[in-house]
């Protein structure tokens, strides 16, 4: 975009990287991912490696949603910094997308740091690199959608904790829709199942099947929700 956008991204990534909280969150997610691979995905009985990978990717996707909820707290303008940010000659899009991009980079970095776990499955089992690639694409897309919802909630609420709780609520509602769908009839059944970012839309990608429709769902939803976030932020900035 431009130099100012780059400056916002660098500043925000720096804020994650130079504060203990950013690293604590990263350490927590990395530990939980390793634990869930050993304790849940591999289990105590012999399982096909592709199944282990799929379960690992499913759990990692939920952890990424949780990570997006935590990072939401940083997506809201800090109360002390807000007057300065609002007085800077920056566009609403630059401010919202800059913070979103920085959070996405941090989330992406943490996610990619877990790649050694599926690499262990790759070395010791029979899974393809394409399976790992589509699985990780689904995790990143879930993360992007989670952060987009977080950006929106951050623009709508006044406190970081409220924004995080609201984001968690929206994501939980979408995921629970997958189970509610079993009690409904078409067209609601299909709609509710398809809206669930992890349970519904992530299934094909986690199984190593590249589905353009699923990727498009994530990208369209993320873009749409980010546009809501920009509108909400702009309206608050002008209020």
């Amino acid at each position: 975009m431009n130099a100012r956008f780059g400056a916002i991204v660098r500043r925000e990534v720096g804020a994650y990287a130079r504060t203990p909280m950013g690293w604590l969150v990263a350490a927590l997610v990395l530990s939980l991912d390793a634990l869930q691979l050993n304790g849940v995905a591999m289990g105590s009985e012999r399982r096909p490696s592709s199944w282990v990978l799929e379960i690992f990717l499913l759990n990692a996707s939920f952890l990424t949603e949780a990570l997006a909820v935590l990072l939401t707290m940083r997506l809201q303008l800090d109360e002390r910094e807000a007057p300065l940010w609002r007085s800077l000659p920056l566009g609403d899009v630059e401010l919202v997308l800059g913070r979103f991009t920085a959070a996405m980079l941090w989330l992406g970095g943490i996610t990619l740091a877990t790649l050694y776990l599926p690499a262990l499955i790759f070395v010791n089992g029979h899974v393809s690199l394409a399976h790992i690639a589509t699985g990780y694409a689904s995790i990143l897309l879930v993360g992007a959608l989670g952060l987009a919802i977080g950006s929106w909630m951050a623009a709508l609420t006044r406190r970081p904790l409220t924004a995080a709780l609201a984001t968690a609520g929206v994501l939980a509602m979408l995921e629970l829709g997958y189970y509610v769908a079993t009690t409904t009839s078409p067209p609601w059944r299909g709609l509710l199942r398809d809206l669930a970012p992890v349970w519904g839309r992530g299934q094909n990608l986690r199984r190593g099947i590249f589905s353009l429709a699923d990727v498009a769902y994530y990208l369209v939803c993320t873009t749409l929700v980010l546009s809501f976030a920009v509108r909400a932020f702009a309206s608050r900035r002008r209020s």
């Binding site: 100012r4 007057p83 300065l84 566009g91």
Partner: protein, 315 residues
Amino acid sequence: MAESRTPAIQATSVSKWFGAHAAVAEVSFEIQPGEIVGLLGLNGAGKSTMLRMLVGALQPTSGELRIRGALAATNVARRQVGYLPDSPPLFDELSVTHYLTTIAELRCVPRDQRRRHVAEVLESCALGEVATEPVAALSHGYRQRVGLAQALVHQPDVVVLDEPMQGLDPMQIVELRERIRHLHGNPTVVLSTHILGEIAKTCDRLLVLHEGRLAARGTYDEFASLQSRRLRMHIGPADIDRVEAAFRPHCVSFEAHAVSGGHRLELETDEDRRAELVRALVGLNVDLLGLRAEHDALEAVFQSFLLDPDAEGAS
């Protein structure tokens, strides 16, 4: 020529409502380029809201606020303004130089000029010795300087400082005052502070906000001359009725209190009448033991607003 006639700041009937509460109501004023103007007011008077509107962080509910002709809540105006909020928003994890460079970038300083701008502001705000220190490690005085530096790093035409003296010791206040008075490029400065004496020493002109309204405006001397009409006089033993009769033609109000060795008189006149009052005392053969105008003009102005919200200001 046209540009020189454009006021640096022009507020026309500016109001800001938060729900049913008017934080700022129908405020109008003009500030010329290069002026240093103080914004005075009690807590909740609307100073910070007014300053946030000036820097484009808030939009007026009604009215118009322009910075060198551009609406304040636009990026054209924001580029021309430097802002120090009441608590400096410093990025604690960065070094002073890194922080100022980041702000310069966000303030649209071209890449090839950033290094020079940062070096100049480090020098003018005497931050050279802490340039590589993390902001988090700085003392309050240095943090305030860094806050001022970030407001100046893009060499703005208008500098807005919200309570810049807050928490500084007397030496730091004097130092900051000198810095403000000798800013590079002679920008227009608007500042608010609770330290009334300081605002008088720093500013060319004062605007007094009270309950969101512009209650008074003028120079410190104008405020001071207003207050020279409030006198406190200490006289020796006298027939107080005769003194009152002699003073009445010159006084708007007359109050006498018996004290040891005479009387203490509290007087208000319609203009500076000290000479007439002294002559009247001489005519009555009464000893004048002391005479002084209210010593803190601004505090007295504030008090008069609190007691009488309709009181008129200097102009």
